[in-house]
């Protein structure tokens, strides 16, 4: 509010040269009204699920959105496709302002933007055969296709046998169902695929298969992905650029290498230290920043920095009354924290109570 965030104008030269931004989101907000009253609906408040988000997704790359449940990442993903109407802000896809399109134009534009959902069983119609599921988007968009070859082609693309076409979703395992969901999304040859928690419903041994499939499809079809997930390790693996969300806003954004090597926002630091690592040696020695409390209600978000109620680095001034803007602290690394550079240089230390060396037991 007070100072204009350094965002769209402030891109570094080398990025301009290589990046061709396919999806650009500006100041996007999604507020769900809270209503009361029996005869007259009065709006008594709003759940600010997404509140002022800027994003730029380069073509052919993967953009990861991480955050915990309730941070607004799924709402953001849906608002980009206008599956939920944004309250404010603009979404530009390949030069076209999606937010101003009429219903029919939007429907046509969606051909190029598809979505993969979390729970493949819930997002596939149980009464449709795989063939019908895959060809439905083609019919909806009036695209002619060769009945015999198209389905086989798409199934082959996602690693399912041609015999799958006549079967129904319940006949498949979780991983295979997710492949069907992906097949439906890529059947239209879209440019942008938004994947909302594509692997979190799957067994551990299956997750890698689906991750690898997504990567392979990106290479073959030149897809641009927005991957929404709560699992940091998965997001880091698959994405080139990552944004961390907390309570409706982006708190940190950077390329994934930098983000994991040098997280600057206290929330990102805490999030990363919370992820268990399958290595006892590391688990025994690493320092953990434990967050106290739970995510505050997005209907009544804290004043100032939304993270200040749980932040182990909280300072006396600014944190609780001034909302930090997402500022470029280093080239390509943007952080929404008043004290990001002081924390980075080590001048501000977390309060002792919040850092714990994990209690480990004798081996």
């Amino acid at each position: 509010m007070s100072e204009a965030p350094v965002t769209d104008t402030d891109r570094t030269p080398e990025r301009d040269a290589t990046d061709d931004i396919v999806l650009s989101v500006r100041d996007l907000a999604v507020h769900f009204p809270i209503k009361a009253g029996i005869f007259f609906d009065r709006q008594i408040g709003a759940v600010k699920a997404v509140d002022g988000v800027d994003l730029d997704v380069p073509r052919g790359r993967t953009f990861g959105l991480v955050g915990e449940s309730g941070c607004g990442k799924s709402t953001l993903g849906r608002a980009v496709l206008r599956l939920i109407e944004p309250t404010a802000g603009t979404v530009t896809f390949d030069g076209v302002d999606i937010s101003s399109l009429g219903a029919e134009e939007l429907r046509r534009a969606r051909r190029r933007m598809q979505m993969v959902f979390q729970d493949p069983l819930a997002s596939l119609n149980p009464r449709q055969s795989v063939e019908t599921i895959i060809t439905e988007p083609l019919r909806a968009h009036g695209i002619g296709y060769d009945k015999k070859t198209k389905v086989r082609e798409v199934l082959d693309l996602v690693g399912l046998p041609a015999s799958a076409a006549a079967r129904y979703p319940h006949e498949f395992s979780g991983g295979q169902r997710q492949r069907i969901g992906i097949a439906r999304a890529v059947a239209l040859e879209p440019e942008l695929v938004i994947a909302d928690e594509p692997v979190s419903a799957l067994d551990v041994s299956i997750q890698a298969q689906v991750i690898n499939l997504l990567e392979e499809l990106q290479e073959r079809l030149g897809l641009t992905y927005v991957v929404i997930a709560h699992d940091l390790a998965v997001v880091r693996h698959i994405s080139e650029e990552i944004a961390v969300m907390y309570l409706g806003g982006i708190v940190e954004q950077s390329d994934s290498e930098t983000l994991y090597e040098r997280p600057m926002h206290p929330y990102t630091k805490a999030l990363m230290s919370a992820v268990p690592v399958p290595d006892p040696v590391i688990e025994e020695s690493r320092e953990r920043i434990l967050l106290s409390g739970d995510l505050p209600s997005p209907a009544n978000p804290p004043t100032g920095c939304r993270f200040h109620t749980r932040c182990p680095f909280r300072q006396e001034t600014r944190c609780d009354d001034e909302r930090p803007a997402l500022v470029e602290v280093e080239p390509g690394h943007r952080v929404a924290c008043h004290y990001a550079s002081d924390i980075l240089s080590g001048q501000i230390k977390p309060r002792d109570a919040d850092v714990m060396l994990t209690v480990h037991r004798r081996a």
Partner: protein, 350 residues
């Protein structure tokens, strides 16, 4: 019979002879359904043996359908009596719980062995306050007047670091967040100072930062009270920081058992190795390709015909599809495999 399949990796350090193990499970087998023309029997758990000593933490790791939860239900005597055949021995401080009466089991459950379930919303009663539910557990196992029980309930909530513990007793489960509900479950489990806690995926429904809080609390309370713990999870990361020894299950059988460090440093069963290689990790450089385990947990060979993992196994040899491998013990580890992984795992290999 005893000791045949079980890896007892703590035997050298334990001051107790194996007969006096806190919990000793021997050749546990759980079969669902009757054998008839219309119904096929399902062997959910077979040849499962393990020991848990006082204060020890054991991890049971496996994917959905591996039999890890059924194992814990069998130990607790919570499987229905009809339609399920449980055999083997579950010796708790020398007493076989499988042959114990229901009356006896009711005394054991909640007092000697407590359980923490995955989903706190469905395991708490939505129409009773947290305080009432805590008091119920306390009063069902010892004689306390309600004032003392309420005081004890408050103390328990403080023990699990419940914010604003004093006022929470009057709250209903829906008024609490997921992490707080899970703490209530931990408090209920601790209510009667049990000697063993079985935690079945206690943090799976929680966000990572909340998972870290809850695990830390669980770790602290079991360390403070010296309670033994069986941690059932699909997440190897959770086990790595918590358990002394780990058993990896696949399709109802233990395929690998080892103390935690050697298991993670050198997983020998191709399934364990596959699990570790297929999850992206935060501590390794980015860009390493993931090696998935091919197929899905539903592609199995029956253990009666060979190794259940054989259809998905990269190390498969002919023998695997002819007879099931036995769980062979060597030192502190046990392994059920004809052709185990030779190390170099990731990073070590050039």
């Amino acid at each position: 019979m005893v000791g045949g399949g079980g890896g007892d990796d703590s035997s050298d350090s334990s001051p107790y002879p194996s007969g006096e193990m806190l919990l000793s499970v021997r050749d546990l087998r759980v079969v669902f359904g009757r054998n008839s023309k219309h119904q096929r029997q399902v062997v959910a758990v077979d040849e499962v043996s393990f020991d848990v000593d006082r204060g020890q933490h054991l991890g049971l790791v496996g994917e959905s359908g591996s039999g890890k939860s059924v194992t814990s239900l069998a130990v607790m005597g919570l499987l229905p009596r009809r339609g399920v055949k449980v055999s083997g021995e579950v010796l708790f401080a020398g007493e076989n719980l499988l042959t114990a009466s229901e009356r006896r089991m009711r005394a054991v459950r909640g007092r000697d062995i407590a359980m923490i379930f995955q989903d706190p919303m469905t395991s708490l009663n939505p129409v009773l306050t947290i305080g009432t539910q805590l008091e119920e557990v306390i009063e069902s196992h010892r004689k306390l007047d309600s004032g003392a029980a309420r005081k004890k309930a408050g103390e328990l909530l403080e023990m699990v670091a419940m914010p604003d513990a004093g006022h929470r007793l009057k709250d209903y489960p829906h008024q609490l967040s997921g992490g707080m509900r899970q703490r209530v479950l931990i408090a209920i489990a601790l209510a009667n100072e049990p000697r063993l806690i079985i935690a079945d995926e206690p943090t799976t429904a929680l966000d990572v930062t909340i998972q870290a809080q809850v695990l830390e609390i669980l770790k602290q309370v079991v360390a403070d009270t010296g309670t033994a713990l069986i941690m059932i999870t699909h997440d190897l990361g959770v086990v790595a920081g918590l358990c002394d020894s780990v058993r990896v299950m696949y399709q109802g059988r233990v395929v690998e058992a080892a103390p935690r460090r050697p298991l993670f440093a050198e997983p020998r069963h191709p399934y364990t190795n596959g699990l570790l290689a297929s999850v992206p990790r935060l501590d390794t450089p980015r860009g390493e390709p993931l090696t998935p385990i091919p197929g899905s947990p539903t592609d199995v060979l029956s253990w009666s015909k060979g190794c259940a993992f054989a259809p998905r196994c990269p190390n498969r040899v002919d023998e695997c599809e002819q007879t099931a491998p036995r769980l062979e013990e060597s030192g502190a580890r046990s392994l059920r495999c004809y052709n185990p992984v030779e190390h170099a795992r990731r990073g070590v290999s050039a």
